[in-house]
């Protein structure tokens, strides 16, 4: 093989265009998001914007709960004490049923990490197709200090391959999807 063949080989391999597993199919982003989330034992709910408070209160009332201030005031516990935490997520990723929590501060990562039950609230309009779309949005300069992709509950199979949920993180994940307003 001469050196030009080599150049051709190397450059053509670099130019392989990968297809996202989704690209060729037609799909409904919201439906796919729900399907993929439920496939990994995530609970999902779709609610209207005006019902956020009533619906979420049903989840937290009477429990040791932590709720993000912006959603509604709920004075109870710290994230370390709470059994359930409700927090907004920045994005959803339909391909894998993932919610994305970005933050500058470590404390903003704790609600999705310490309590046994994590409730992520995500706007339907923030559900993206795949990670390509997300990374395009995030850019490279000054991306958030902390980004977490969360897909289903915390799990392990380290003891004789038995699947057990809630090892260190939440054993239960609920995603509350807030419908786009134009649907109202």
């Amino acid at each position: 093989m001469n050196s030009f063949d080599n150049i051709k080989r190397i450059t053509s391999e670099k130019n392989i265009r990968l297809r996202s597993p989704l690209k060729k199919r037609t799909y409904d982003k919201l439906q796919l998001f729900i399907k993929e989330a439920e496939a990994v034992s995530t609970e999902t709910m779709v609610i209207k914007r005006q019902n956020i408070e009533t619906e979420l209160k049903k989840l937290v009332n009477g429990k040791k709960a932590w709720v993000e201030q912006d959603i509604f005031p709920f004075d109870c516990c710290s994230t370390a004490e709470a059994d359930i935490a409700v927090q907004k997520a920045d994005f959803g990723i339909a391909e894998t049923g993932t919610v994305v929590v970005t933050s500058a501060l470590f404390s903003e990562q704790l609600p999705s990490l310490l309590p046994m039950h994590h409730v992520a609230v995500v706007n339907e309009s923030d559900i993206l197709r795949d990670t390509e779309e997300l990374f395009g949005k995030l850019g490279t300069a000054g991306i958030p200090h902390r980004i977490s992709f969360i897909t289903g509950p915390s799990k392990t199979a380290d003891i004789e391959l038995n699947l057990v949920k809630g090892v260190h993180g939440p054993g239960k994940l609920t995603i509350v999807i807030v419908e786009n307003d134009e649907k109202m």
């Binding site: 391999e13 990968l18 297809r19 490279t140 980004i147 090892v167 260190h168 993180g169």
Partner: protein, 428 residues
Amino acid sequence: MSRFSDNATAAAKDKNLQTALYNATERFKKLRADVIGSIDFESYRKKASAVKSDVIDHLSYYLDQFEKNAEKQGTKVYYAEDAEKAKEIALRIIRDNNGSLVVKGKSMVTEEIGLNEFLQKQDIEVVETDLGEFIIQLAGEKPSHIIAPAIHKTKEEVGRLFAEKLHIDYTDDPVKLTAIARKELREKFLKADIGITGVNFAVADTGSVVIVTNEGNGRMVTTVPKVHIAFATVEKIIPSIKDLSLFLRLLPRAATGQKISSYVSFLTGISKEEKKNERSRHIIFINNGRDAIIAGAFRNILSCIRCGACINVCPVYGFAGGYSYRATYPGPIGIVLTSLLEGISNRSDLPFSACTLCYACQEACSVGIKLTDMIRELRRAAVDRKSTGKKLSIMMRMYGTVFSSPELYKLSKAPINMMIQKGTKKHE
């Protein structure tokens, strides 16, 4: 020192181990097979291979880029020539931050450099937090598989271990055992000053450290303690965050048959506000022999993303288990890496005894590493160096002659087939 074949013979007689290995490798193979077809695996691994080759070809360029971007965001970047240097740097960071309790995420490179033993000698408490790693740390053992470190232990063994070491009532219920570990380790997370992890990907164009876990311990370790120290061998770099879509689809599918793992954490520097509160993030890039590998004919071995697929499909690993290799990295990837890191002539037992040249690993590799071809080359190199003794050397030359002639090969297969049949019967 016992050689691979002696260790493997002993392992083959251990009934518990044989059951555990069979169940685990079959399960991993099935999980991978169920999901790998949801992407165009061949194009994905070709592309992954091209990206990693580009990284290795231009490593110092990407390391510089990573350093520049990471430091801009507040991560401190260090370079360690070898294991000793890496441990010294870590110790200095821990001392500077008055650390006394370290919580650790799962990391093969810290196994490679012997970090835990080193820190414990300095009176620093080190707690492994991945459930499998926690179990083997309690047992005083080493991981026997790179993604399932306690693969060799039965639930009854774990139950007895927990009862003895954690002073609790015996149970062998995995759910209860996991809950016990959660409680035990939660206290450690909240008390720890220092979190130590490996790195799945170090992203050059953002300066981010990316960690993939299922249990959430990786998130805990990098979120709760004030100081995070990440250890990465130099080849963990990838050029761009945009390359991650590819690797995040490949790695979990190949490793555990998931479309994505439960958690992917991107850690990029530290905010000004956290810095004021003495929070910090550090990454130590370790060479530890990689420069010699890059200079040689086996450089592509550094493309490995540690998915473990080659280990699960390897028929020899399936009987011998991880400990037989007497090395940090078991299975086909371990044969090649260990030979290169410890010297071909020192570990010629591995390419000769731990491989049947069946090509299952090469077929499974997520990043297209020609593992079996490399093992064959290692044999050749060992023979050339005459490090294996004259008898074996002559045998290998005979093999060479036989395998290069179809007629001789056909003739030679009859007795081999008989041997294989006999061997299979023995295990029934």
